[in-house]
Subunit: 425 residues, 2 copies
């Protein structure tokens, strides 16, 4: 990394030594897991570059935006509407939460029985190694699960400006009303942060920008229905991860370019795995960079991941926001309708998710489902029982995995995953 | 137990052998923990009788009520408004969730990392040993924590009629609106269940009945401010536990009778512990019958428990419902206002609870606070950090305990509690 970046990180208040260690680990993992893959699409070159500059050029871009008067908003969840952030002339970025860091420090302020994702987000803050978090003008938390809801009260003492968005727990009329009032409150907060007024034109434009991003990533997803699939699950997951922090227009263009190439591959039946490789759908908790553990285990065990029923996957991207409204109210309503459809396990009951999993199994021609639950994530681990039962009823093979971000269970997991894949052959 | 009870339990579908085992364990625990106490108030005789008949006479009474056309409603939480249940001509009872039972069976359908209270409620169902659950015409669940919210989806497949009440997560205007709409929905559901119409008179009358129960238990609590305290923490906890399943009028009368006796004790400075015994406030998760582990450890270690900042304690009982309203709407509003004040850790933020703990420390002249968290209960275990910090800031000694319903950690807990108490002397 150049000396310029080091100065940038220092000015952001990062712990340079700890950050060096992180980048070193991240770089090695990327080389081992990503660059070692065979027959990758050329279009992945863009994402390799993005990853190599994930704490470098992208941060420089965000700082340039800040210098030009734009605000940066950080979030941890798909329920934070990028449409509203963009239309207030601000940029939304996902925050680091995919790796273990400063765990000992974290466990002094959070119970050990907290999921790895939450612990990670605190670790990046306490360890001073997340440039996204440090350059954000505002962090948006949300009352999804108990773990996040209650730990935001503690994060509030560690960051400059934390805004917490309330969320409903049931898809009732009262639940929708609550979401609507919260999105209006968020709109006001964004206008207050940036000084911009969110009008119809800005909102329409932002909805289009985000819809285009969703269309592109959905196009990529659809190409994985082909047999053999033209791209590895790891590479597709990476695109879904980059979705959360890249420049939206550039991301859309790069994904579409990758898709052009993949279409040619599909036509020529060029795959990254033999056509005989069992096809796996991953369902469950989100996987933030660099949490590549499970797909890496699967794809080094003779199977290919063809889809992610996940927040970092189809959960937030499969539907578009209707941009035909003629007033701010109509457009906000369309945004509410969109996000209220997300089938996160925080909702009770949550039958849409199970239907969606079954539908994905069919459309992606998956041979089996691996349910990925983060240890101590109560919404997904409890729901996984229902998911498994429903899949069994439909004779769809399913394996439930509960893990965290450590590497200690990799051997054990690999044994279980290999046995499952063997069964599918 | 008489043969009549055995027939009653059989008709309720209980597993008689398993139930015998449970009653045996419960009886032994009660003898060891309660009856071994010295210098107990005579008024506790009523509660000893209630406990000896907890699965006998009380169930017979409920079945008699059912035979007379009254409905029985079971619940697991203080947010289910007894006022609305009573005014629909139904009886509300708390359901069994205080002991380990059928844990192996439970862990087949719920993650092991689920709190003991939820596992227990499932264990009583799967083991067929809770006559309250089996005689209830309707079970009311509530979206408090993630664990309960998501496990009710599974309980729904195990019980006849489960109704789930949504709850807000923030004390915002939108949150209050949600609670209000849910209480109206619950009112309709109760009217539908019983065929009764909830009118102003019934509602006023029910509010008074529940307020009187609260006043009595609050009178009992206040008497514990005396030094020496006239009643053990274990006995006071028992009264708070019986609050949830006894006949309201009889309960109120019995508690008031006990209080008359305690007033005399206070006057004559008669205590159950030496005046020098350190005074402990317990704060945190609820303790359902027969979960007497922590207060038993404390009171056999030379200290006395003087208050419970808990759902089975002051959390739901310290405030009354205003019964002066002149319309059903005004009275429902008063009920909403009351329950919206409850400072459960499911709310974010939840500053009232910390204030209440500090206020209780002062008014009960507590020398220290023991925070009781159930393992895997994210709302309370995460909030416990904030509570401890706030108490430290005010130089109030505090000990955080995280446990479950097993007896395996009793020795270790006793060592920690003894050391804490020693420090207070």
């Amino acid at each position: 990394m150049s000396e310029g970046y080091r100065l940038m990180w220092k000015n952001l208040g990062l712990d340079l030594n700890a950050h060096d260690v992180l980048l070193d680990v991240l770089g090695k993992a990327y080389t081992d897991i990503y660059l070692s893959q065979k027959n990758r699409p050329e279009g992945m070159g863009y994402f390799d570059f993005v990853m190599s500059e994930v704490h470098g050029l992208r941060i420089q871009e965000l700082l340039d935006e800040k210098a030009a008067g734009r605000k940066i908003v950080g979030s941890y969840c798909v329920f934070v509407p990028e449409e509203i952030v963009l239309s207030a002339n601000a940029t939304l970025v996902g925050l680091c939460s995919g790796a273990e860091f400063a765990t000992e420090e974290v466990e002094k302020i959070l119970p050990r029985n907290t999921c790895a994702l939450i612990k990670s987000s605190f670790g990046f803050k306490l360890g001073k190694v997340c440039p996204y978090l440090e350059c954000a003008d505002m962090i948006v938390g949300e009352n999804t699960c108990d773990g996040k809801k209650k730990s935001y009260e503690i994060l509030n003492e560690l960051v400059k400006r934390l805004y917490v968005m309330d969320l409903p727990q049931m898809k009732s009329p009262a639940g929708k009303e609550l979401l609507k009032s919260e999105y209006y409150r968020f709109k006001s907060e964004m206008e207050h942060l940036t000084g911009a007024t969110i009008d119809k034109e800005r909102l329409k434009n932002s909805i289009d920008i985000v819809n285009n991003k969703r269309k592109a990533i959905h196009r990529l997803a659809s190409l994985r229905k082909a047999d053999p699939t033209p791209i590895s699950g790891l590479d597709a997951l990476l695109a879904n991860q980059v979705f959360f922090y890249d420049n939206p227009a550039r991301f859309t263009e790069s994904v579409n370019k990758l898709c052009d190439e993949l279409e040619n591959r599909v036509e020529s039946k060029t795959g990254v795995f033999p056509a005989s490789a069992p096809r796996i759908l991953i369902s469950g908790c989100p996987m933030a960079v660099p949490n590549w553990k499970l797909p890496w285990i699967i794809e080094t065990s003779g199977a290919v991941v063809v889809g992610e029923e996940s927040c970092v996957g189809e959960r937030g991207t499969r539907n578009l926001v209707d941009s035909t409204g003629n007033t701010v109210d109509e457009l906000i309503n369309a945004i509410v309708e969109h996000y209220f459809e997300i089938d996160c396990a925080i909702f009770t009951p949550n039958p849409d998710r199970i239907e969606h999993i079954v539908e994905m199994v069919k459309s992606y021609k998956a041979d089996g489902v691996i349910h990925y639950g983060l240890q101590f994530c109560q919404p997904y681990t409890i729901e996984s029982g229902k998911v498994e039962k429903e899949l069994q009823n439909r004779k769809i093979p399913a394996l439930r995995v509960e893990t965290d971000y450590s590497q200690t269970d990799v051997g054990q997991l690999k044994t279980r995953v290999e046995a499952f894949i063997e069964m599918l052959k």
